[in-house]
């Protein structure tokens, strides 16, 4: 238990839509433990609540029930489900990263700036931030002549890789990955998998959603099966 970094206990999320006076369940009763360097894969058909669960861990969604116990770098245990917002923002800046399914960024920034931005926000000096960003972009095989351009003009796969480069540049102790390998060609997928493996070897714990079962078999230490059926039974 002492080396567990994340302990999800009976986590549930449902939405209340005021407009229709309706409860919409998204995920229920999910529990798992994760150690540093381990990856938990959320698997299940679409609509089973994988993304909702990931967002509930990150607190983009307010969890409806259960606990998300995270052991912070300071050693203290924080329940991410109920922690004050300022605690969450501080952890997001320094320890917990989220790789979204799509790249959200300002269309006016260069790729290098987009990737370096989280480091700049952490107070890292510009040259150092750019150097690390460049290393990550190179590792994901984004051609150097594109680094000055904005990712808004890139293909889906390139954008996805910029997104991953940004998240891994920022690093952290816990990373949440929402389909990081979707829409990637085999070579890029291999690069991303290698990057995830390197982060795991460095002790980063991860929770991820992957559509490719081969990727799950290769990377996951824990598999969390979500079933749509659970809600149909409940309904």
């Amino acid at each position: 238990m002492t080396d567990t970094i994340l302990s999800v206990r009976d986590l549930g999320k449902s939405f209340y839509i005021h407009d229709r006076a309706k409860h919409v369940p998204a995920a229920m009763g999910i529990s798992f433990d994760l150690k540093p360097g381990q990856l938990a894969a959320l698997v299940g058909p679409s609509g089973a609540g994988k993304s909702s669960l990931l967002k509930a861990i990150y607190r983009t969604y307010v969890p409806s029930s259960g606990q998300v116990l995270y052991r912070a770098a300071t050693g203290g245990i924080v329940d991410l489900a109920t922690a004050p917002e300022t605690t969450i923002t501080a952890l997001r800046r320094a320890e917990i990263g989220f790789v979204t399914q799509f790249l959200h960024c300002l269309p006016r920034l260069s790729t290098l700036d987009v990737v370096a931005r989280p480091l700049l926000q952490q107070g890292v000096a510009r040259p150092a931030a750019h150097e690390k960003a460049a290393r990550m972009l190179a590792a994901l095989a984004i051609p150097q002549q594109l680094w000055d351009a904005t990712p808004a003009t890139f293909s889906g796969g390139e954008r996805q890789r910029v997104n991953i480069a940004r998240s891994f540049t920022q690093g952290g102790r816990l990373m949440l990955l929402d389909e990081p390998t979707a829409s990637l060609d085999p070579v890029s997928r291999e690069n991303v998998c290698a990057m995830i493996e390197a982060a795991k070897a460095g002790g980063v714990a991860m929770v991820g959603i992957f559509h490719d079962m081969g990727v799950v078999e290769r990377l996951a230490d824990v598999k969390i099966e979500l079933r749509r059926k659970a809600f149909e039974d409940a309904a």
Partner: protein, 276 residues
Amino acid sequence: MKPILDVENLTRIHGPGCPACLEVTGPEHDTNICRHCGSVVAVADASLRLHKGEVLGIMGESGSGKSSLVKMLYFDDKPTSGRAIFHDGGQAHDLFALNEAQQLRLRDMRMGMVYQNPSLGLNFDISAGGNIAERLLMSDELSYRAIRAKATALLTRTEVTPARMDELPRNFSGGMQQRVQIARALSTGAPLLLLDEVTTGLDLSVQARILDLIMELQEVTGVSMLVVTHDLGVVRHLTTRTIVMKQGRIIEAGLTDQILEDPQAAYTQQLVSSAL
């Protein structure tokens, strides 16, 4: 994180006011007009905390009380009741208990405000550079040369070409007027900045550049900001936490991504779903 501003139960009632005002107004009554005395409850019992280096959004439709709230904090208006504590340089200023001279001093030196309407934040009868010099003079900078150099640096930073610093801001475009306002607000290095609908009414491309500018300045200076807006895009780009107001009340507060993706209150759900 250390607080820079604590607002406690701030209330502003326009009109005579009566004991029932707060009970018969608000989102659940769908009005901010008291049916007993006819008073308008602009802000009711609003409490919030802003931390050092934080950018907090205040979102809501027109008439929700969001501008009234920041106007009181900048002493443009007086509250009916409530407190606001401004933590600055090891001191805790009880804003509405200060005398007028103390209030003006804080306003001139330790706070900055950028209004939606540049004519409120700028003196249109003096040059752009003069507008900045005016504020620097109030903050005890007295050498002409130093003031001119500082004004040039500030206008350059906010992308107003120094070649135009001797022109009247009334001749500037809306976007440029906002840039001069931002330069003026920043001129004294104040730790607290209040932004009231700063991009409303500007062209999209100008809006984007003003937002970039604000974001960059925030990152460089670490200034704390209250950002009042009805624009979900502004909230998404600038803020980490957001407060939602309706009929003078704070009805929801949370992390900005949570407010936008998993709003809890009925009104916020409606507001977020009405985004274009």
